[in-house]
Symmetry: C2
Subunit: 380 residues, 2 copies
């Protein structure tokens, strides 16, 4: 085990909103009890001023760093979280929270509805990014923390971080938004809609009532294939696969797989189907598509009253959350005289870059957190 690794970690669970104290979601629907899976790394300081909450992507989980028992693979952002790393566990107390609607230990459509004793399926209420943040706020309170030193995440995690700053301006010192934007665009909605239609067109989907039976594996695999394509870039796909054939000397002139890129999509989507719930895919993509930070259309007004310092990172080849959208957001932040640092990192890895470009991001994040910690943690 490397000295800069966290070693063994364990996922914990927090259950709240027990009836009759259900939580009212953004849709107006009441839900309870609700469980959130989460992990923590590092130590909370005495005045509880060094807490950083980490938010994950669409299909990820609370296991962001370190190793779980009997799993040789570290958490999904292990390169960024640990002793001496960008999110330095020697300095900060990290909380990595799974989201409501997911299938990774938190309450979602695959959970048992206590009223029926059966999985919710489509009777689970639609959740939004605001609902994710609302439940994470309950988790923070449960941990006895009133304020986050930082809210940080990439992709869907970035949207949660941004929403934290707008929903709870008094509770967030800083936000790190990576490969995110302030509203889901028509292109993003369209891509998600194809994925949803793929799942719902699968006869095994059975209107969401497939638990304990055949899962809609074909539909879920298709939606994941589309996802994988959008997470890469034209250039990174060309560099990784190009027109390379699968151990063949020539194309087969048939409909078997000829190209490595075809095999890659199949391999990745087949493995995804084993680890993710199709209904959760529906719910979480919907929560993303509903996301619009400026609900009344005025983004500048949205950041009025927001107090956090921001670090906004985007990647040059990310066509799913393109840099120009980050820039729109930065303009609105700056119009409110907010403290904003921003950087477009030059990378060919597309949207995936935020999981790959560890060095460039680490430099930016360490510097940003160091600067703010002088005032917010050590300056008190």
């Amino acid at each position: 085990m490397n000295s800069n690794n966290l070693g063994l970690v364990e996922t914990q669970f927090f259950t709240f909103a027990h009836p009759p104290h259900e939580l009212t979601l953004e849709s107006g629907v009441k839900l309870g009890p609700i469980t959130l899976a989460y992990e923590t790394y590092g130590t909370l300081n005495k005045d509880k001023s060094n807490a950083i909450m980490i938010f994950h992507t669409l299909t990820s989980d609370a296991h962001a760093a370190g190793f779980q028992k009997d799993d040789p693979k570290p958490g999904w952002w292990d390169g960024m979280i640990g002793p001496g790393k960008a999110f330095d566990t020697n300095k900060y107390f990290l909380i990595s929270s799974n989201v409501i609607g997911s299938c990774k230990g938190s309450t979602g459509p695959a959970s048992i509805n206590p009223k029926t004793g059966k999985p919710f399926g489509l009777s689970f209420p639609v959740v939004t990014i605001a609902d994710m943040v609302l439940t994470q706020k309950k988790l923070l309170e449960h941990l006895g923390i009133s304020k986050l030193f930082c809210a940080a995440g990439g992709s869907m995690g970035g949207l949660q971080a941004l929403k934290w700053a707008v929903l709870y301006p008094e509770c967030v010192d800083s936000v790190i938004s990576i490969a995110a934007n302030h509203r889901h665009t028509a292109l993003q909605i369209a891509l998600h809609e194809v994925g949803r239609q793929a799942i719902m067109s699968d006869p095994d989907w059975q209107n969401g009532d497939y638990y304990g039976k055949s899962i809609p594996a074909r539909g879920l695999a298709l939606s994941r294939m589309i996802g994988h394509i959008t997470y890469m870039s034209d250039k990174s796909m060309d560099e990784k696969f190009g027109r390379k054939l699968i151990g063949k000397e020539r194309v087969g002139f048939d409909f078997s797989h000829d190209f490595e890129v075809e095999n890659y999509l199949k391999y990745r989507s087949d493995s995804f189907v084993k680890r993710f719930d199709a209904n959760s895919y529906l719910y979480l993509t919907k929560s993303l598509d509903y996301f619009d930070l400026a609900e009344d259309g005025d983004l500048t007004a949205t950041f009025k009253g927001v107090k956090a310092s921001f670090l906004v990172i985007s990647f040059s080849s990310d066509w799913l959350y393109p840099s120009y959208q980050s820039k729109e957001m930065i303009r609105a932040m700056k119009a409110n005289d907010l403290d904003v640092s921003d950087c477009e990192i030059n990378s060919s890895y597309g949207h995936d870059a935020f999981l790959i470009e560890i060095e460039g991001q680490s430099r930016l994040i360490s510097h940003f957190l160091n600067r703010l910690s002088k005032e917010k943690i050590y300056g008190k």
Copy 2:
């Protein structure tokens, strides 16, 4: 009827390669008889030097211009073809040819296999862009023409035009390649593969043997949705749809369609399913993915011996056939001292631009054809 319209046109059919004189396809498989649907506009001149062949896209047909009886909609490139238009039927004899493998009047997987009396389905041989060109060459010979003044098309049509110049250098005075490239990339293959998997995952597909039964409508609709997304641009989708809701004041917090872009995809893909054969979608996407003009990997060498003059048009927001790929091709042409005109048209319409940006393309094409016609048609 406008004076610059062609008026009524009719699709014609040419059948050849009757057994025992079947055509040998690139795969080595023999096929015959083969029918090609085509239309012609304008008049062939005395020395047969004014023929232009027009090639269509993946899902289009031979009806490129003018009106067919009882159809209020003109052909798919009517803005470009007609008296006084870019492809001026007062000057040129236009031949618009459907492709082998299509379901629009030419021999394809939905055609009856004369040996069995049943539709080919997956027993139809895989065809390539070279096979399309080979069959179009037979059509040209049938029309008594030995040389094309120009081979022209956009998207898949552009690939055919390029292949003409390489396969039959003595038979092509000029090539107009629009929104095309010299080899299908990993991104393009990946996007097509998802579409193919969507069709083949549909239980109604029945290994291609669905004729006379339920068609794989859900799978075909999904593949078309993906197609539509790739034909637009982030910007054009944002301008056309943004986050506009479908006659609602707020989102529904359910899985019904909320956004106009979702409805658009559904509407367009539902109408597509009525007019296109799923197996043809498989065959034609495969022909595109197999396309690599430089089969031995040396693009510069590929253009050795090519004699045509080239006009290469790309569009700034086309991310399916991006401009940088056209530029790679142009470099290889220029390395062979070929006469190349090229232009990247500034447009937000993405790949669809070649069907929409009529004015910009018309100027370039008229000028290119006028210049060459002085030497190749009138200069003789």
